[in-house]
């Protein structure tokens, strides 16, 4: 653990940006929890940008866990040498997602209650449970790493994380895929989308946030392959939606969604961090698109209140929840870097 941290370490442009994000987003989050409703929602369009933020960050964290677990299982030194920073990233990003989820649920306690009154037929219950286990596993690994305890438990823990992380990502897709009355959601396809998008955004986050030649190469390889698979998935969906005659299906996929993945996968070596960011934005676009589009057709009597098909544009408070989630993740990652990763002693 690094004790040589002074207040001056926080007087940096990054920390100032993080502080602004925490204050602005935190104010909206607290207002939403305790005083009134600010989001652009109604009874027919209930999951908007704050939930997209949670899913985006949770899946990105899952992707980082998957890459790390892969590295540990395959004994890929380029990855395992960065175990601690990757664990900090995965934990920070997941907690950033949980923060956005808490504002969406209106209370932190509601997140705990999920575990206390279980319904095993509910994908949301599984999602909550799996992500809780995932968080515990990540903390256990971090504590073991901090204490220098490596040995017989490393491999089982890596396998455990791999299975739980993959199951969690698939379950997020199932939250939407098990909805029978909304054709843009229904089916197993979204579970594949969430799993692959987790890998794309997680590997891209490693390239973006931890620029280090061998790690960038290892994570970049995974990113490129996952991005190409993701592009193929989107293409399949575009073709399906173009031919679909399913009543009530609007179609969330778009041929232009292929562009960020193809460009980033093919040109990654030219500008790894920039193109990793392009990949991350592409994943956000896809996730935002399917989550929102699936709810735009009003069902039954809701059509009288909100029109047969709604439109949605995030409002400023919702955008600030996205900022809050990212700011919490960034703050935790920076704190982890400053306190838990040993710095070189001053010359």
């Amino acid at each position: 653990m690094n004790a040589n941290v002074s207040l001056r370490d926080f007087a940096t442009p990054t920390w100032i940006l993080i502080a602004v994000g925490l204050v602005a987003g935190g104010a909206v989050g607290l207002y939403e929890m305790f005083f009134g409703h600010l989001f652009a929602t109604n009874s027919a369009l209930v999951w908007t940008l704050p939930l997209v933020t949670y899913i985006f960050l949770a899946l990105m964290s899952t992707g980082i866990s998957l890459v790390l677990a892969y590295g540990l299982i395959m004994k890929d030194e380029a990855i395992t040498r960065h175990t601690r920073p990757l664990l900090i990233m995965a934990i920070g990003i997941l907690l950033g997602g949980f923060t956005a989820l808490a504002t969406e649920l209106g209370s932190l306690l509601n997140m705990v209650w999920i575990l206390l009154s279980p319904n095993p037929s509910s994908p949301i219950w599984w999602m909550g449970t799996l992500y809780s286990i995932e968080l515990v596993l990540l903390f256990v690994k971090l504590v073991m790493d901090l204490r220098g305890r490596h040995g017989v438990f490393d491999l089982p823990l890596a396998w455990g994380t791999l299975v739980i992380a993959a199951a969690a990502a698939i379950t997020i897709g199932a939250v939407f895929g098990t909805v029978i009355g909304r054709p843009d959601f229904h089916g197993a396809f979204l579970s594949v989308v969430t799993l692959v998008s987790a890998l794309v955004s997680g590997a891209a986050a490693i390239v973006l946030l931890r620029p280090q030649s061998t790690l960038t190469e290892a994570a970049g390889r995974i990113f490129r392959q996952a991005a190409l698979v993701f592009a193929a998935l989107i293409l399949t969906r575009v073709a399906y939606e173009a031919h679909s005659t399913v009543e009530g299906m609007l179609g969330w996929a778009n041929i232009f969604m292929l562009v960020p993945f193809l460009v980033a996968a093919m040109l990654l070596s030219l500008a790894p961090r920039l193109l990793a960011l392009v990949g991350i934005l592409g994943v956000f676009w896809v996730q935002y698109s399917f989550i929102i589009t699936g709810q735009l057709v009003s069902l039954g009597q809701m059509a009288h209140w909100y029109g047969a098909v709604q439109t949605y544009q995030p409002n400023i408070p919702e955008a600030l929840i996205l900022v809050l989630g990212i700011a919490v993740a960034a703050a935790l990652i920076k704190l982890g870097e400053q306190f838990l990763i040993a710095r070189r002693p001053a010359a």
């Binding site: 009134g36 929602t41 009874s43 209930v46 999920i114 009154s117 279980p118 009355g181 909304r182 009597q301």
Partner: protein, 246 residues
């Protein structure tokens, strides 16, 4: 034993008495209707067809909202077949709203019924709702039907969903749901639809009938009888004096 409702489309006149009765009985907030409608216009002039389909929770046997709810806040009551909701367990995740294929669940984004307590007058010289209550010596919220509170909070909390309960508080007293009693044309009938000898089952046996979006496998407990056929009500080409009744 399992409650169910039949709605005879040939008898329904589209007056929305059911909607209003439900609103009064259950204190639903502004912008929420537990009992509502779908309207459909089809055809080409002059052969235009307009349908009014009264809607509410279908108390599905295979309820997607119950399967989706992570905390069992939305549950099936084994004794009555009703789909009920426990506000104490509800975490406001809205999975039930997304899962319900009928759009009959509403979410309390804020504490409902908060405006009655304000002292603002709509126009100068008018009473505000609070002043009116004070003037008349009344107590509590003017929206609150205390009988509703025997099985479900009179005012549901912020951060919780709400939906039709088939007036379970009235069923306990041996009464029919408020919408059934309010229907002026007797289009709505209520009873034990699991009993083949009940009146509702006999009506279904006589006329046939179907639930909404049955193809989804939800097994709704609200069954619609007979499509509305306007000619049977009023056919301008029938000779004068001939019975125009249903």
């Amino acid at each position: 034993m399992g409650y169910g409702m039949v709605i005879d489309q040939q008898l329904c006149v589209g007056c929305a008495a059911c909607t209003i009765a439900c609103k009064i009985e259950n204190n639903t907030p502004v912008g929420f209707n537990w009992c509502d409608k779908i309207t459909r216009t089809s055809g080409k002039f002059p052969n235009v067809r307009y349908e009014y389909i009264s809607t509410m929770c279908n108390h599905c046997d295979n309820a997607p909202c119950v399967a989706a709810c992570p905390t069992q806040a939305m549950y099936k009551d084994a004794g009555t077949g009703l789909t009920l909701h426990d506000t104490n367990k509800c975490i406001g995740c809205k999975a039930c709203i997304v899962a319900c294929p009928y759009g009959v669940i509403s979410f309390n984004w804020q504490r409902p019924h908060q405006h009655w307590a304000q002292r603002d007058q709509l126009a100068e010289g008018c009473f505000s709702p609070r002043e009116m209550l004070e003037e008349s010596g009344g107590e509590g919220s003017p929206h609150g039907n205390p009988e509703r509170g025997t099985t479900y909070p009179v005012v549901r909390p912020a951060g919780s969903v709400e939906k039709c309960t088939f007036c379970d508080h009235r069923l306990l007293e041996g009464l029919a749901p408020a919408c059934v009693d309010a229907c002026p044309s007797g289009a709505r009938q209520f009873g034990d639809i699991d009993d083949p000898n009940s009146e509702v089952s006999r009506l279904v046996a006589k006329h046939g009938g179907k639930g909404l979006r049955e193809e989804l496998g939800t097994r709704p407990r609200v069954i619609y009888l007979r499509d509305y056929t306007p000619q049977r009500r009023f056919d301008p080409f029938r000779p004068a004096g001939e019975d125009q009744g249903a």
